[in-house]
Symmetry: C2
Subunit: 197 residues, 2 copies
DNA sequence: GCATGGTGAGTGAGTGTTCGCTCGCTCGCC
DNA sequence: GGCGAGCGAGCGAACACTCACTCACCATGC
């Protein structure tokens, strides 16, 4: 079956199974058998909807992409400063939420494997690009409104996203306690430093 | 053979083969056959020195750890500000150096797989912990010398390392051109903001 | 000077297992 | 009775790892 004609409900169900399996086993140890074990289908049942394991992962990524985009879109904070803080709060995964941590770490694993897997590269690129744009837009608004100093929106966005992704990819993945709180404070201080006096 | 009694020359040679194979294929697609192909030994020859694939990867990590520690130690810049800039320069891998980029991306892949592989966790933890300490020491010196504002050394170190690791794990891995330069500038501006007026 | 036997270093050819994926079939429903 | 949905069984390939063996080298005894 072509990937883009999978019924939405089935796509959501399979994406969810991929998500659970990724969080539990990581990408390098992900197998279709493990995905099936997390779903309510058999291994062969997954292949009824998707032609390959990679396509199932793409389904998960597209679902995550939608979810993240919606979450960022739903921020109802007012003003660039509060909005930027809200975005950071979303991107800096709580170490005490194992489910969220597992998924986000797995996405970092997918990201760092992207150079070797063409199929996964595109959806990952879209997701990161979008997040980058959301942050840059907020910063740009802040500069135009005179809330932020005259910083470069793209550079600031890259800095913030790097910091949050990097935190997930090393401190969260290694279970380094305390680093999250340290970082949260420094990131908050960084946002302070963006404000005009 | 116990891993800690492998002759140094053999360890270096095998670590090097693992490094090359990781850079080319990534961790998720790393096989002992590919490591052997990058070395001058057969697959069975690798097992003469190491009992498992994971031990070979640990050998690579220990070698990298030594190399990074030595590189950070050899910084001869003077004063906390210049030293901090030098560290960032080392950690922010150049996107035009494919070999260095490949290895660093692979280490990010290992990091984000760490929750699922106990064997790799320890050496990775040591490596990140050490880097974190090096940065925190520089910041602490800077604060004591009155060069930096009274920032938290640990938090600042976590912020800087997160940013550089994160850049490697998403922008470098996805080949997002320009992000590196944007980030370099923002990171430099951040260091400016740490300085006392 | 030279046969003998032990040893470290290494390999070609496998081992059993697991992988991604397919096929022939069944079942329930219009 | 035809058809969409799904599964048990199993395919070939690839995987991590092992084993029986070779070969160069060296010490020893004669």
């Amino acid at each position: 079956m072509p990937a883009d004609s999978v019924p939405p409900e089935q796509k959501a169900q399979i994406a969810n199974a991929v998500r659970a399996a990724l969080a539990t086993h990581g990408y390098a140890r992900l197998t279709t058998k493990k995905v099936a074990a997390e779903s309510e289908k058999s291994e062969a049942g997954l292949y009824y909807y998707y032609d390959s394991k990679d396509e199932m992962i793409v389904a998960f990524l597209e679902t995550s992409e939608d979810y993240l985009a919606r979450t960022l879109d739903e921020i109802d904070a007012e003003g660039p400063e509060e909005r930027l803080r809200a975005v950071c709060d979303i991107l800096l995964v709580d170490e005490d939420d194992p489910a969220a941590a597992g998924v986000n770490i797995a996405v970092m694993e997918l990201l760092s494997h992207a150079p070797h897997n063409e199929t996964l590269r595109e959806p990952l690129l879209r997701m990161e690009r979008h997040t980058l744009d959301v942050i840059a837009d907020i910063v740009r608004d802040g500069v135009e409104q005179g809330v932020f100093r005259e910083v470069d929106p793209e550079g600031t966005a890259a800095f913030v996203l790097s910091a949050t992704d990097g935190y997930t990819g090393f401190a969260l993945a290694l279970g380094m306690e305390g680093v999250g709180d340290d970082l949260r404070e420094s990131l908050s201080a960084y946002i302070d430093s963006l404000l005009v006096e």
